[in-house]
């Protein structure tokens, strides 16, 4: 594994290895030993061509705990927002000697372009690209689910996960569908037909237009952010109607079985896809997702950068 571009590129065993490594790193983080020397001397560039404070900070914390040098390269005011080409950016990073680039980009496939081009040689980590994928988010979601409901198993076999909302525009949904099914979970996408992609029938998931009819069966309810602009694009009539059919509220929360958990990748639109009391309920693991994010991203950085990356990973 040289890059992390898409969950499609990693095997079930790779995924489990990342989760297991994250588990160990989480324990290390619980001790006073917050900083590890593992990536001393490695340079990691945070290339954020799109705003995302939480993902950037999470990766930055992960890299710093492993003692890597972190260079932040954000879009605001930088050449990226002035139309500098991806090629020029890549060549600049190469000249700076970046060992890895963590890239957040509005264009689907931008990380793949960076990885496949001959413009730079470092590892590329996709921190969310357009409406394509967000692999580290899916890994931290799987990590969180496994901690709560895994019952000591290495994967998620038999768990039923509902992903609710704007699947069409969600990179989190795409990565989670690939990862959770790879780990044995059964995924149901719950959305109005307008917010499901044409071609979804080829995905290894069930689809439901009726949240209430599947609620009881779910172990995990993963709510997706819905942007209000989608209303103008006619994906749904208005916020009230969206919330009525696809929002998570206290009534729906009560319908869930007693062990079920509620997740959200953030940032939340409280009152639209999730009510405040649902987000703050005891079932909500939303803040845990955030803290687990650092351990999972440490694991990703460790596995991609600590070893001799020219050798295939063994045991």
């Amino acid at each position: 594994m040289k890059h992390l571009l898409s969950i499609a590129d990693i095997s079930r065993l790779d995924a489990i290895k990342i989760l297991d490594t994250a588990e160990e790193l989480a324990k290390v983080s619980d001790t006073p030993m917050k900083k590890l020397p593992t990536l001393r001397g490695r340079t990691i560039v945070n290339l954020f061509a799109e705003d995302s404070t939480r993902t950037r900070i999470s990766f930055e914390a992960a890299a710093k705990r492993l003692s890597a040098d972190v260079i932040n390269f954000s879009s605001k005011g930088s050449s990226l927002s002035k139309g500098e080409s991806l090629k020029d950016t890549a060549q600049t990073l190469q000249a700076m000697g970046a060992d890895a680039v963590i890239i957040r980009h509005g264009a689907s496939g931008a990380p793949a372009r960076l990885a496949d081009c001959q413009w730079m040689s470092g590892a590329v980590i996709n921190a969310g690209d357009g409406t394509h994928e967000h692999p580290s988010q899916a890994l931290l979601d799987a990590f969180t689910i496994r901690r709560h409901l895994g019952q000591g198993r290495e994967d998620l076999t038999g768990l039923r996960v509902g992903i609710v909302g704007d699947v069409l525009h969600s990179r989190v949904a795409r990565s989670n569908v690939l990862l959770l099914t790879k780990l044995g979970a059964h995924v149901t996408l719950i959305a109005p037909p307008t917010l499901l992609p044409v071609g979804v029938e080829s995905w290894p998931v069930s689809v439901s237009y009726d949240f209430d009819s599947v609620l009881e069966s779910l172990d995990v309810v993963m709510m997706l952010r819905v942007q209000l602009e989608r209303m103008q694009e006619l994906f749904f009539p208005n916020a009230r109607e969206y919330s009525r059919y696809f929002g998570l509220n206290s009534a729906r929360l009560r319908t869930l079985h007693s062990d079920a958990i509620v997740m959200h990748p953030g940032p939340m639109n409280r009152g639209l896809e999730i009510t405040a009391d649902s987000a703050d309920s005891a079932r909500s693991v939303i803040l845990e997702q955030v803290s687990n994010g650092v351990s999972v991203r440490m694991a990703i950085l460790y596995l991609l950068l600590a070893g001799d990356t020219s050798i295939e990973a063994g045991n």
Partner: protein, 432 residues
């Protein structure tokens, strides 16, 4: 390369009907065609084992001049054309300035004459600035030196049904034709690739087949209603082929084209996120490709047109959604048609001559082109070696641009010579 007309005897080539003939060319004209001819003072070139067709005619070429001479010029495009076996190109109107006045079409026509390698026939815009609102000076362009007969807003769809209706009616005056880029704009805002399984996975905004088919259906009905001629550019969908088939059965005067890339490539290639495969209309599915080949074989689709669309490197060395739409086509079109249609048994060489020379010349009214290899016809010829495997190399193209999606692919048939008015405007091997 010979720049003056010489007398040539092409010996032993296989002509479209499959027979072996000698062809004697004098003063730029076919002097005689027979089983065995004496050379007299003519240079003798053996074409044994080679296919000799009426010179190829492209109905859809972006030559980029005026305005984007960094990506192609009339001269560089002409060189690419003759290398691909073409003797006539139709320069699309979406230049800068747009070819929506007699002045611009005459400029392009004159540049073609100056290049002198083949005929460059300008296509006029349907609407001013190809904005789809107000008709361009269609009459003036038709009456100009360029004598424009084909009008297209290609790049944009003439989406307003009233504008389309008026345009179809208006060109009847001089037996012109409207070449429609069929793309319903409201269904394709920000679209990046074919909408389907691959776009769902890649998270790229979909360009649904129905956006093409809805316009084709509307326009064949409009053409029927006003009794006008309609040409559909770059057909890409199985559904589109069905609609054209239906319209022709109904007697509607519609013709359609398919590009070499849509005969060969599918949307699976987008998985690389390499925008070299980004084109408008987009690459579709395997099922569509098969329907297009069938449609071209049975005559539902009348012609192959390249939609040769040169772009500078920086337009493709970027993220997919930032990249320009379009790919090169002139230099490999014949090889691709041979591979997808002839080698598969769907079309014989007579069929290739029809789809790539005779039919496009007829649709556009290029009277000097697409004629049978008969005595007295202008000597516009394409000579093909059907068994000369080669690998495409984007670094050795005649075009000014390198955006070929075929780089690294291997084809079997290749053009070895192109004769324009009896001059060898492109020749390799013994034709040099």
């Amino acid at each position: 390369m010979a720049h003056v007309s010489e007398n040539i005897l092409i010996k032993g080539g296989i002509v479209a009907d499959g027979s072996v003939k000698d062809i004697l060319i004098t003063d730029g004209v076919i002097h005689s065609v027979a089983v065995s001819l004496n050379a007299g003072d003519a240079r003798v070139v053996s074409a044994e084992g080679h296919i000799v067709l009426s010179g190829l005619v492209d109905l859809h070429t972006h030559l980029r001049e005026p305005g984007r001479e960094d990506s192609e010029t009339v001269l560089s495009g002409s060189k690419a054309g003759v290398k691909g076996g073409y003797v006539a190109l139709s320069a699309m109107a979406n230049t800068s300035p747009v070819a929506d006045t007699a002045g611009v079409v005459e400029q392009v026509y004159r540049l073609g004459k100056e290049a002198g390698l083949l005929d460059v026939f300008p296509i006029g815009a349907v609407t001013q600035g190809i904005e789809g609102k107000v008709l361009a000076e269609i009459g003036a362009m038709a009456d100009s030196v360029a004598r424009v007969r084909v009008f297209s807003d290609d790049g944009n769809c003439v989406s307003d049904p009233l504008v389309m209706r008026r345009a179809l009616e208006y060109v009847k005056k001089f037996n012109g034709v409207i070449a429609q880029h069929a793309q319903e704009p409201a269904l394709t805002v920000g679209s990046q690739m074919n909408e389907g399984i691959v776009s769902a996975t890649l998270g790229l905004k979909g360009w649904p087949a129905v956006a093409e088919e809805a316009i084709i259906a509307r326009d064949v009905l409009l053409a029927e209603h006003v009794g006008a001629r309609l040409h559909i550019c770059h057909l890409t969908t199985a559904g589109g082929v069905e609609i054209i088939r239906w319209a022709k059965a109904r007697g509607i005067d519609v013709t359609a084209e398919v590009t070499p890339h849509h005969l060969l490539l599918t949307d699976e290639l987008a998985r690389s996120y390499d925008p070299i495969f980004k084109v408008n209309p987009p690459l579709r599915t395997e099922r569509d490709v098969m329907a297009l080949r069938q449609g071209l074989a049975d005559g539902t689709i009348d012609i192959v047109a390249t939609d040769h669309a040169p772009h500078p490197g920086e337009s493709k060395e970027c993220e997919w959604q930032e990249a320009a739409f379009g790919m090169l086509g002139l230099e490999h079109a014949l090889s691709i048609v041979a591979q997808t249609m002839v080698e598969t048994g769907l079309l014989d060489w007579a069929g290739v001559q029809d789809r790539m020379s005779t039919a496009p010349a007829k649709i556009a009214g290029y009277g000097e082109h697409g004629r049978e290899l008969a005595v007295g016809a202008p000597a516009h010829l394409t000579v093909i070696n059907p068994k000369a495997p080669y690998r495409v190399d984007r670094d050795s193209l005649a075009s000014k641009s390198r955006n070929t999606p075929f780089h690294g692919m291997e084809f079997t048939a290749q053009v070895v010579a192109t004769l324009f008015h009896g001059r060898v405007v492109f020749g390799k091997d013994r034709f040099q």
